[in-house]
């Protein structure tokens, strides 16, 4: 098992498999950073995104682009609806964090039951076949799915980075994340920013569930398990640090993959929760190596830009 080819294979497959965890984690961490919301409703959004694509491509026989578009539109639409008619209402009522948490959890369960009624509980994949063409490069098997997963995830992360770093909307998001009231004084609409971050998260979720659903079977209760990994990565990465959480998601996937060298594979899932347990005890505010990278207070410059512009 210490053959370099095997190690490289585990590394490559681990990175490819981490792709959807990264996308779910970034979606979760972004909402937490901007809205200060532990949005477990994203598990429900994953279900909506998956079954929209599944229905579009298998029952309605739409082309792939149409299925993906429908999924993005519906998932983003539901996100906006939940934001306007539920989250915003709770915010105006000054509801406690616990109420938000419970609401989002109930929303996810509601969606899961609804999808169960509509689509049943048999595991389904987006395409009937789960096979993907493979090429062997230096003894390492690289499938089209692997390349698509890594490429799509990198593309999404770069786009998100550029959006946050170089666009006015991105700076507004940082401003609201840093101090919502101050941003408001400078004329930045927090509500608009919340909707924008929600839509971005919805797109990330659609991309993530696309990758998952083209490789493994999905049932309506699968997303609840998927969001747990996102929560773990967000906790270890440190609250409010979106890209750190993404790196942790990759790290957790690799840890699980490489653990096969030392422990039986049936213990791999336990390892994930063991890491979370230790991380929460030892680093309740995230891994210290990343603490120095605090988000610089760009809110002021962004707010000034808004006021000036």
């Amino acid at each position: 098992m210490t053959d370099p080819v095997i190690l490289l294979q585990i590394l490559w497959t681990g990175i490819a498999m981490s792709s959807y965890f990264v996308l779910f984690t970034v979606a979760f961490a972004l909402t937490l950073k901007v809205e200060k919301l532990w949005n477990f409703a994203q598990a429900g959004l994953m279900g909506i995104a998956f079954y929209t694509m599944f229905w579009s491509l298998n029952a309605a026989n739409w082309p792939v682009w149409a299925g993906i578009s429908a999924s993005v539109i519906l998932t983003a639409g539901v996100t906006i609806g939940v934001e306007i008619w539920a989250i915003d209402v709770l915010r105006r009522r000054h509801s406690s964090g616990l109420i938000f948490f419970i609401f989002t959890l109930i929303f996810s369960q509601f969606v899961a039951f609804l999808l169960t009624l509509l689509f049943g509980t048999e595991p389904e994949t987006i395409f009937p076949s789960v096979m993907s063409p493979v090429r062997i490069v230096g003894g390492i098997a690289i499938s089209d799915w692997d390349l698509q997963a890594v490429g799509l995830t990198l593309g999404m992360l770069i786009a998100l980075y550029l959006l946050i770093r170089f666009t006015r909307d991105g700076q507004f998001m940082l401003a609201v994340a840093d101090n919502e009231k101050l941003a408001g004084i400078y004329g930045i609409s927090a509500r608009r920013v919340y909707i924008l971050s929600g839509v971005i998260s919805a797109v990330l979720i659609v991309a993530g569930i696309w990758l998952y659903g083209t490789r493994a079977g999905v049932t309506p209760d699968v997303p609840v398990g998927l969001i747990l990994t996102a929560v773990i990565a967000t906790l270890i990465g440190g609250l409010g640090r979106v890209f750190s959480a993404a790196i942790v998601a990759v790290g957790l996937a690799l840890l699980q993959s490489f653990s096969i060298l030392f422990i039986s594979s049936k213990w791999q899932a336990l390892l994930l929760y063991g890491v979370l347990f230790c991380a929460l005890l030892l680093f309740p505010r995230g891994i210290p190596a990343w603490r120095w990278r605090r988000v610089r207070p760009v809110a002021k410059s962004a707010a000034t830009a808004q006021a000036g512009g």
């Binding site: 098992m1 053959d3 095997i6 294979q9 585990i10 497959t13 681990g14 498999m17 169960t116 049943g120 509980t121 048999e122 595991p123 994949t125 009937p128 076949s129 789960v130 096979m131 993907s132 493979v134 062997i136 098997a141 499938s143 998952y212 490789r215 493994a216 079977g217 049932t219 209760d221 398990g225 699980q256 993959s257 653990s259 096969i260 039986s264 594979s265 049936k266 791999q268 899932a269």
Partner: protein, 380 residues
């Protein structure tokens, strides 16, 4: 007077028949329970089992019922989870007052067993194959061959007929996988083969790369995978890692959906079946005709044949108890099972109940060829 009586008799016969039929329908039905996963990941099989029970119950009732009384089934959902199965079993026994329960899925059969033994309720396994089922107590019997039947036959066939010398055994980490994998390992080894990898994977896993690479290191010439609904994903990832070895599995692999998910990657896969096909048993064709009315191909046809036959067994037990004028209790139904012993069943043939709680059946081997399950061999 005679003429008058005759006329009255003639006139009264249709009325009596009608009244008798109605009376039969009004008679207290013989009730049995079925614990099946009608929701959850295993519902694909569970719902089809239930549908088949309904077909069998209807067939029995259409033919006069059991000793003039209708047969009635009460189905409760287990999601194939032991904790739900325990609640459901208690409800069937305490609330619905059933004396016989049909179960499947090894973890469910095991979870229900202590309740069955404690309450003297007969538990009949119709689809689980963990070898442990034979040792679950005096009220737990199986009408489905346990893993030692088909897995033993498969392991021997792989070693002796196919000449494979090195096997990797991968299995799902639950009762079904653990029991079956151990049997395969022991039989293959005792037949002179070598098991180069023996690895379990988590039931919720989606990435099997590590397990497969561990298997690849041993350079096996056959890979036996003892899994459930995740089986296509394991085989897909195996092929994508460039592992082209012969793959074998047991009866859960005999599933048309697997062929659709794997396409050409399924070619060469060897699976087992424990029931005859429509070509060798006309009754199976009748079952398939009923499924045509449903509008789709059923999942796991051999299992459905056992589902049908387990209903027939239950009906025979009720008939024996009724004939001997005994009250319908689990104790008497168990007595009936052991008294009758040999059942001639329409879908799977002869069933002999033995004192060691095991049964023997012929094993039918299939290989995937040109995208279809093709008969490979039959091991009596």
């Amino acid at each position: 007077m005679t003429e008058k009586l005759s006329r009255r008799l003639v006139l009264s016969v249709p009325a009596a028949l009608w009244a008798g039929g109605a009376f039969a329908q009004q008679k207290e039905p013989f009730r049995f329970g079925a614990l099946m996963p009608t929701t959850g990941p295993e519902a694909g099989y569970g719902l089809d089992f239930v549908k088949t029970y309904e077909m069998a119950v209807k067939d029995i009732n259409d033919n006069g019922g059991v000793a003039g009384r209708p047969l009635e089934m009460i189905v409760l959902d287990t999601q194939a989870k032991p904790e739900l199965a325990i609640n459901a079993a208690n409800k069937l026994i305490e609330v619905n007052k059933v004396s016989v329960i049909i179960t499947a899925w090894s973890s469910v059969v095991k979870a229900v067993a202590p309740i069955a033994n404690r309450t003297a309720t007969l538990e009949l396994n119709m689809g689980a194959n963990s070898p442990d089922i034979a040792n679950l107590g005096e009220y737990v019997y199986t009408v489905f061959p346990l893993a030692e039947v088909d897995v033993t036959a498969l392991a021997k066939y792989t070693r002796e007929k196919l000449g494979k010398t090195k096997a990797a055994v991968l299995y799902i980490n639950n009762d079904t996988g653990i029991g079956g994998a151990k049997i395969y390992r022991d039989v293959f080894t005792s037949a002179g083969g070598q098991v180069v990898a023996f690895e379990a994977y988590d039931p919720k896993a989606t990435d099997f790369t590590g397990v497969l690479l561990k298997a690849r290191v041993g350079n096996p010439d056959v890979v036996h995978i003892h899994g459930l609904s995740e089986l296509p994903q394991v085989i897909a990832q195996m092929r994508q890692l460039g592992m082209l070895q012969q793959v074998t599995s047991y009866s859960s692999g005999y599933n048309p959906k697997l062929l659709a998910q794997l396409g050409p990657a399924a070619e060469g896969l060897i699976v087992t079946s424990l029931a005859p096909t429509a070509t060798t048993n006309p009754n199976v064709a009748k079952l398939l005709d009923l499924w045509k009315q449903v509008g789709r191909a059923p999942n796991g046809l051999p299992y459905l044949q056992y589902a049908w036959d387990s209903t027939v067994v239950v009906a025979d037990l009720f008939a024996w108890v009724d004939k001997n004028k005994l009250p319908v209790t689990g104790e008497n139904l168990r007595k009936a099972l052991l008294e009758i012993r040999t059942f001639d069943l329409p879908m799977t043939g002869k069933l002999v109940v033995t004192d060691d709680h095991r049964i023997k059946k012929p094993v039918y081997l299939y290989v995937v060829k040109n995208g279809q399950f093709t008969p490979l061999d039959t091991i009596a």
